[in-house]
């Protein structure tokens, strides 16, 4: 039996009469939790529960257990499987997608789920300049020939469409009744911030900002019934507090940000679940840095070869990156090669004269890449390069383009929206990509990316993306460093966490997780 009430016995042992009295009063009043309650903390408040109008990162486990899309990634993989669509067909020209929907599903307010509901919801997202509208920007037309069939027509072929729909931020279906009742003059943006009516296995039953969110099992769920009847999500901003609460049995897991260095010495009663993720640590190279010199670049690559330090940074929960794509997304035929002759590297630096490098990372990323930067500095010192670190304030990386004072190597974790290589290439590497921090351009590689984006044959597609990635690397723009796993530390016996590589780390699937016994 688990309980989160104050422990009266401890109080009496302490000889504190007042506390003992208070605890006895509490014992008579506080509810005792059922065994089927799962307690998973969030580090930050949920900004908005609106599945169309918020780029939530830590709260996706809640949002995606209340709302559902047509398709999803299977837990632990990047394989696309049906959700509200049990199957689908794509026309030979790639312009028409026909989804065959599940029947008998209902929204939490009792409204039947059907193709019109999907169109209503998708139209809301596409046509109202919402934060996530861009997921449907290529959808020209939506038709419902019958209740269980949805036909989407695209403006142009988009082989990555199903990945976009499977993305944790992909389009979800909201109850048309709720939208009609609460749409108001802002298409429901205000109401949906703190309320939700989806078809998912859980209902949002409490939204108490700063304190706690509660999900309650949807007993009329059309799919497999979840194990837990209630999910309590307290807001615990401090990871130290989360770790202590896990050890005190007041929560059931620390979903992410558990210090890497402490994972090898966990106390009794807790365990690690590690799964592949899309977290690729890589370095963005500033044009005009000392790495423009080919000999210096080769020496630097020798020193920062991830095989030399990745275990020190992440223990057994990371591997040296194979390419500019997450290995879960694209396992390259020819992995990038780092030179290994440290003596030659040292000689090159001696010949090139005193070399200084500034490494940088965002303060938000300190927990994950701070140690990487420290280890790289130590490695660079071995070949005679004096390196320092510049920790950038949140958001500063977006202003580095053309900034001469920006770090020579900016270290970051890349996490694309979806598992299609297009999401990695066009977000981080191509000209004008939003996270191409230094604004570098390589038209020949961009052309390959564009061509790859039209391919439906996966080996052919991946070969083109791999080739483009190798070109970006050879040009000296980006350096892949490490593929890092999604690590959850939980009470012993918590199993089937349903972690998906594309989700940001720590987003447990409340529908699949259960106690082993």
């Amino acid at each position: 039996m688990q309980t989160n009430i104050f422990d009266p016995k401890a109080s009496m042992r302490g000889g504190k009469r007042l506390l003992g009295l208070a605890a006895m009063l509490l014992l008579s009043a506080a509810p005792v939790l059922a065994q089927e309650t799962l307690r998973i903390p969030y580090f930050t408040d949920i900004g908005s529960f609106d599945p169309d109008n918020a780029f939530e990162v830590g709260a996706l486990s809640a949002i995606n257990n209340v709302y559902e899309g047509l398709v999803e990634y299977k837990p632990g993989t990047t394989e696309i499987v049906g959700l509200l669509a049990k199957s689908w067909d794509v026309s030979p020209d790639g312009l028409t997608y026909t989804f065959h929907l599940v029947t008998g599903a209902k929204f939490h307010d009792g409204t039947p789920f059907n193709a019109d509901a999907v169109i209503n919801s998708f139209t809301r997202r596409r046509d109202n300049e919402l934060v996530l509208s861009y997921f449907l920007a290529n959808v020209k037309d939506m038709q419902a020939p019958d209740e269980a069939t949805l036909v989407l027509t695209l403006n142009q072929p988009q082989p990555s469409l199903l990945d976009a729909f499977s993305s944790p931020w992909g389009p979800k279906v909201i109850s048309p009744t709720a939208l009609a009742e609460h749409g108001g003059d802002d298409v429901g943006k205000t109401w949906l911030n703190e309320n939700a009516v989806g078809t998912g296995p859980f209902k949002l039953t409490e939204f108490k900002r700063g304190e706690e969110y509660t999900l309650t099992r949807n007993d009329e769920y059309w799919g497999t019934e979840p194990f837990f009847s209630e999910i309590q999500i307290p807001v615990i901003a401090d990871v130290g507090q989360q770790i202590l609460q896990l050890q005190a049995d007041e929560i059931d897991a620390v979903p992410n940000n558990y210090p890497w260095a402490q994972l090898s010495g966990l106390p009794a009663g807790v365990e690690v679940t590690a799964m592949p993720s899309m977290a690729l640590v890589e370095a963005f190279v500033k044009p005009g840095s000392p790495l423009d010199n080919a000999e210096v670049r080769k020496a630097v690559l020798t020193a920062i070869n991830p095989a030399l330090w990745v275990k020190d940074a992440f223990g057994k929960y990371a591997t040296p990156a194979k390419s500019l794509y997450q290995v879960t997304m694209l396992d390259p035929k020819t992995p990038v090669a780092f030179p290994s002759d440290m003596e030659a590297a040292k000689a090159s630096i001696t010949a090139a004269g005193p070399i200084k490098l500034v490494l940088g990372y965002s303060s938000e990323e300190a927990k994950n890449v701070g140690r990487v930067a420290d280890l790289m500095i130590a490695q660079l010192a071995l070949i005679g390069i004096e390196a320092t670190v510049n920790v950038l304030p949140s958001g500063a990386a977006y202003a580095m383009k053309g900034d001469a004072s920006a770090p020579d190597l900016y270290i970051s974790r890349s996490s694309p929206d979806a598992a299609h290589p297009e999401n990695q290439a066009t977000v981080f590497y191509t000209a004008g990509a939003p996270l191409n921090f230094y604004g570098v351009e390589l038209p020949a590689a961009d052309a390959l990316v564009k061509e790859a984006g039209t391919k439906t044959d996966i080996p052919e597609r991946n070969a083109l993306y791999e080739q483009a990635g190798q070109m970006y690397f050879d040009a000296g723009f980006f350096i892949p460093l490490a593929d890092v796993q999604d690590v959850v530390v939980s009470a012993e016996g918590l199993t089937d966490l349903g972690l998906r590589p594309v989700f940001p780390p720590g987003n447990i699937d409340f529908a699949t997780v259960h106690w082993a016994n």
């Binding site: 989160n4 009430i5 104050f6 422990d7 401890a10 109080s11 042992r13 302490g14 506390l19 208070a22 605890a23 009063l25 509490l26 008579s28 009043a29 506080a30 509810p31 930050t44 408040d45 900004g47 908005s48 109008n53 918020a54 780029f55 300049e129 934060v131 509208s133 861009y134 931020w169 943006k189 205000t190 911030n193 409490e206 108490k208 900002r209 700063g210 304190e211 706690e212 307290p234 807001v235 615990i236 901003a237 401090d238 130290g240 507090q241 202590l244 609460q245 050890q247 005190a248 007041e250 950038l392 304030p393 949140s394 958001g395 500063a396 977006y398 202003a399 694309p416 939003p434 996270l435």
Partner: protein, 329 residues
Amino acid sequence: MLPYLAKRSVSLVVVLLAMSFIVFCLQSIIPADPARAIAGPTAPAATVEVVRQQLGLDDPMLVQYGRFLSNLVHGDLGTSVRTRQPIAEDVRKYLPASAELALVALVFGIALAGLLALVQNTMQNSGWVKLAIVAAGSTPIFLSTLLLVYFLWFRLGWLPGAGRLSIRRFSGPTGFNLLDGFLVGRPEVSLDALLHLILPALALALPIAVAVGRSLNGALHDVMKQTYIRTGRGKGLSETAIVLRHGLRNAASAPLAMIGLQVGLLFGNLLIVERVFSWPGLGLYTVQAFATSDLPAVLGVSLVFGTFYILINIVVEVSQSLADPRIGL
């Protein structure tokens, strides 16, 4: 009194205007981009531009500031880019938790300060007392907070170490749980709230106690040498009566001023203490606002804290004047 209050009201407005302008200028200098924060790191540039237009961030800074002032006159602090709610509404939601914690911390701090002054006065040559004061005074708040959590909650289990209540789904009329429990006829809620308040309030109270206690001790030391104190003793008044009736009142001015200063520090410390104790107040709200580039929320909370700071210092100055009529208003 009225001319004083009028003068301070004008200065309150001037200070808040200056503060809002400075924070607004900072917004345009620091690299944080609320539009990008809302749209997400991977959103296309066009989406970020749409969000920027929706927030009015594409207007010149002075136009934005003028709009902010115009809204402020109507009690509108703007909209949080993180919670998408009016900031005034967020403040109303989060303020009771912080106000309750800050008030209890002040009470604890003042009570401990009195105790400290008394101990220092009676044990003037004790090295242990001096050591304890130096230790308490020099321990940074984040460390004392962690030590309290670790030992008094995690190791000993004497007190709860996080949150405002163990009792779930309670919502009272005022948001002050200590009070609400009694108001709705559930005293166990008030007791639960009190237990949850002790550790965070103690963490906030320690620096106040040390600063105010030392100030009070110094002032008492001087006052107790005055002739009217000797006269009181000559009249046969007990030492306690002398300290309480004549000593404390005449020594109150300096520690009251110190309390005024400590309130400003307390507001800053709320950010650390609320984070560690998962206390759902304005401190935690502000920490999250910083982390998500929610600059309008940071500005709104700054104005709220600034207003409270000035109002509390007005109360302090009035109290000083009442305690020592030589100090005019």
